[in-house]
Amino acid sequence: MITNNLERDTATVMVLGGGVAGMRAAIDLAEAGIRVKLVESSHGLGGRVAQLGFMFPTHDCVLCRGTSDHGYGCTRPSISPAFLEHNLHPNIQVWTNTQVLDATGEAGDFTITLRRFPRYVDPDRCTNCGRCAEVCPIEKPRGFEAGLATRRAAYKIAPRAIPDAYVIDRGPYCADCRRCEQVCPTRAIDLNEPVHDEDAHVDAIILAVGHQLYDPRHSEEFGYGRFANVITSMEYERLASRSGPTEGIVTRPSDGAAPKRIAWLQCIGSRDQSHPYCSSICCMYATKEAMLAKQRIPGVECRIFMMDERAFNKEYNAYVHQAREKYAIGFTRCRLSSLKEDPQTRDLIAQYVAEDGARRQDTFDMVVLSVGMEPPAQATAVAKRLGIHLNAYGFCETDKFAPLQTNRPGVFVCGAFQSPKEIAESIIDASGAAAEAMRLLSTKIGHAPRSREYPFLACNGEFPPERDVAPEAPRAAVFVCACGDAISQVVNTDALTAFAERLPNVSHAEQVSYLCLPEGHARLRRAVAERGVNRVVVAACSHRTHESLFQRVIREAALNPNLLEMANIREHCAWAHRHDPAGATRKAQELVRIAVARAAKLAPVYKDRLAPVPRALVIGGGVSGLTAALAIADGGFEVALVERGDTLGGHLNNLYFTAEGGNPQRLLRDLVNRIVGHDRIRVLTRSEVVEHRGHVGAFRSVIATRVKGLAKPTQSIVEHGVTIVATGGQEARGSEYLLGKDPRAMTQQQLEEKLVHLPEQIVALKQIVIIQCVQRPGAPDYCSRVCCTNTMKNATRIKMLNPNCEVVVLFKNIITYGFREQYYSEARRRGVLFVRYTEETQPRLEIIDTHGARKEPSALRPDDVYFTSLQVRVREPVLNEELIWHPDLLVVSTQVVPSDGTQHLAEILRVPLSSEGFFMEAHLKMRPMDFMEEGIFIAGMAHYPKFIEESIAHALSAAGRAIAILSQEPLFYGGVVAQVDQAKCVACLTCTRTCPFGIPRIDPVAVGNGNIVGAAWIDPAKCQGCGTCTGECPATAIQLVNYRDEQVMLRETAGLGAWVTA
């Protein structure tokens, strides 16, 4: 049957869930020219992340770093300016208050039945004046503030909610007084708005429905809900957030006092009978919350009660170390069983067994429950309606080797619904799921509009040709928006309009009641068209929310969008000086005066454009490189895959089984066969990148290939639009614990080889000791993520082959995060013995000869294996006794380190490395697959140690970002960037030192001041537009477009310092 979908030229993907993952997936798809319906069940976008004040380990609040586009503001609860109403990507349609009722059809042709519940407020007409909330008689706890503040039934979920509009909560408590409807000045409220069902035809579905937090009322022993000073971690987040109800002041709920002793209890709703998995994020967020307390509350004491310290990502180990050393936060290894409350002081009393085995009692004046992640409440319903399977824990079921695919083709999953995970991994998943959808819809990539010079596109087709205003003298039109009376009830807008009319260069001024509504746009366009004005000044609300709207409107009237200047007379004036109308009016006049002065100095801004070379360079032929190469090639673009070794596959060549039971060799064969047979992929083995130049869309690399029989490698040139770095990592092979010196000592990888190829040797063994967390002396301390689960996998396999063999694991922390916890349980169930050691009680290895005498390892001869035995000693802290074993085999879990040559490659690519020596991404949380430099991406173990499924997701995410760039026709760059007047440049290197991104370079060919060769050059494709260099250039040779000195300093009008005389 030929359906509409096959005939449709453009593809549409429905993204279900508007949290950070759903938003990221939507942006990536939209950029690649695929339409997106972003469906969210609540009133606004942002999900859980919108509620967080700070992210570990950087304490960033800035979600604005989620994308590299130049836009306005930390746009919480968005991840990007791209979601601000008027900046919204034209390919994205946001449906809030919407639920899925049914899904029929198949990949490429789904029909989804959606039910849109009314919000009773039309976001397009809501001006956020707040009248409805003022008259509403109903008061309810504010969900966004975790109930720590109240709201009315007519309310805005958060100050910067998206959609940026109020909503009416018509729950059973609504008094139905209809006062909100009557008072609304723009008639945006319709209390009779019906529930609306509609069908959507989409090609693919991405599930990003997230998680919910465990409700600690179910754990009555901790008294949440009964003891006033026991709060959840989310409540703490809101208290500590600068945008929270207290602007970041943490106080005790019972009396409002500053807490002096705070305890965090870990694993509330994780790693227990009813939640046999680890929520993966709580150890880190509790550490963060304790650090915030230490930074803000002088003298506060913080204690975290935890079972294991799970800090298993980049920079996390250093973060926890800092918490312990610098902030003196106490970490106690213990799971509390209950809390008591002192009824007088409302303090909380904790009894526990300390690490030394002694019983202790401690009093805290506040206790934070680190609640875990559960599958979202709607998971079962969504699964049923979409026909997808859930796993034993109620999260979405996925295959290890296809981590972002559900059982139903065409339905993909990302974020915490796949398994508990943090922001960075949710973002990785999201871009990866977008890549999976792009691969499915490869013939339609780029069919919807995708290249944007500005945040907006024309509403109907094309913009008219731009009018050239260069020869004209500035003629400005000033529009004063009364915003109904939201502005005019404080600011005298009549006087303001009259004032504006008299200003120099102003040829027209008028007052409009709502400039943001379609009626207002029409008046703006008419004025530009009929009065011949060439500058537009809008005195209304915030740049942040409305600049791109008015830019679009004047562009429709044939003016360059940059010829608009806004004066914020609402948030910065009428609303901030409500009780000072005269002062507010004077300030409004001053703001309009300088806006007009600046408008006269404005010039059109154009971006540069290029057609990207439709080819990706992928460096590294392991699972990540292969996955990324296939996804990009399947998406319709060429790939040059460069591998240093003789064969493809990387570490998959050494992996034979996984904890989950999959066969990596099958994955390896599958990937290699598909790569070799792909007509868009060119494989260059025995090859290395020796030179990498250019910028996004136009890179040029030199590849050196070793050829048998030739002394020197042959060189070839590859031109490419993007680069993906997937050079992987490797198991450290040191000489600790006799590694490499005694055949009885081996690494995990060597053990796996033995388990697979020589199982008969395992059967003969009586005792095996496995030591975790073994580092080379002086190596940076970090968690390699994969070793604990690997140990569980191998220990379980040993027990399966030889149940009588005693297996002892010596560990510091067991880090089996997410669903991997089950392998830890399984290993214990099979009788594997776990013994903790600490930094101070490292296990000691000795060699004992047949007489019981110690032998120096250096004196060991090859056949001593038969005449000596190994002896491992460790002091067990609880028993306070030295334990001794004589294992037949000693297995050492060594660190995963970056591949050899990582540093050299980083120099060639001019990208940074992390403190652990891995490649350093643009941002730890929000941009985990991007380098700061546009067009270069990172995938897999080159970023940090990872499991196969994590490497696959990371590689897909890099591929998704790469496809979004490669499909731009044209690719826009530059715009508001710094420009060097080389004739003034003395090549003093100040800019190269000042730039936060290291972008300015000295062009050795350019001629600078005094005809001296060598002058600074700033690549417009790389410049981030902050202007930091311009403020320090001693020769004032650098100017930032749109913020040139004359445009900022406004000397003639003294706009920086003088004020209008009222």
């Binding site: 609040c61 800035v62 910065h572 991104f997 310092g1057």
Partner: protein
Amino acid sequence: MSNNGNGFEPDITAFGCIFCGYMAADTAGTLGWEYPANVKYVKLPCTGKIDIRYILAAFEQGADGAYVVACPLGNCHHVKGNERGKKRVERAKKILDQVGVGGERLEMFFLSGGQGKSFANAAQTMVERVKKMGPNPVKRKA
């Protein structure tokens, strides 16, 4: 309003970035945190763009006080533009001291976009401080 004497109302210029700083000002308005109306916000792409010449120009042109509103340290949209800005503000303070205007007339605040109340407090603090100091001496001469 550069009247001398007790009725002195200072004219103050607030430089700030279009990220946290501008948003903090928006939040102050949205949540109705009021502050004196004699502070005007001059937007820059980042406080790393602040230039000592801009600060001095503001005083030359007649501002009685000026301050810079940046993202919190460590949270700059441009990674460390605000740290550069901070150094320049410190240098500008010294220059203002040397030329007799008074470095106290210049300040820098680090605010997140959600801190509307703190934005209002910063404005209040500066207005009060500059009121005590009296009008900008450069303006008085002119």
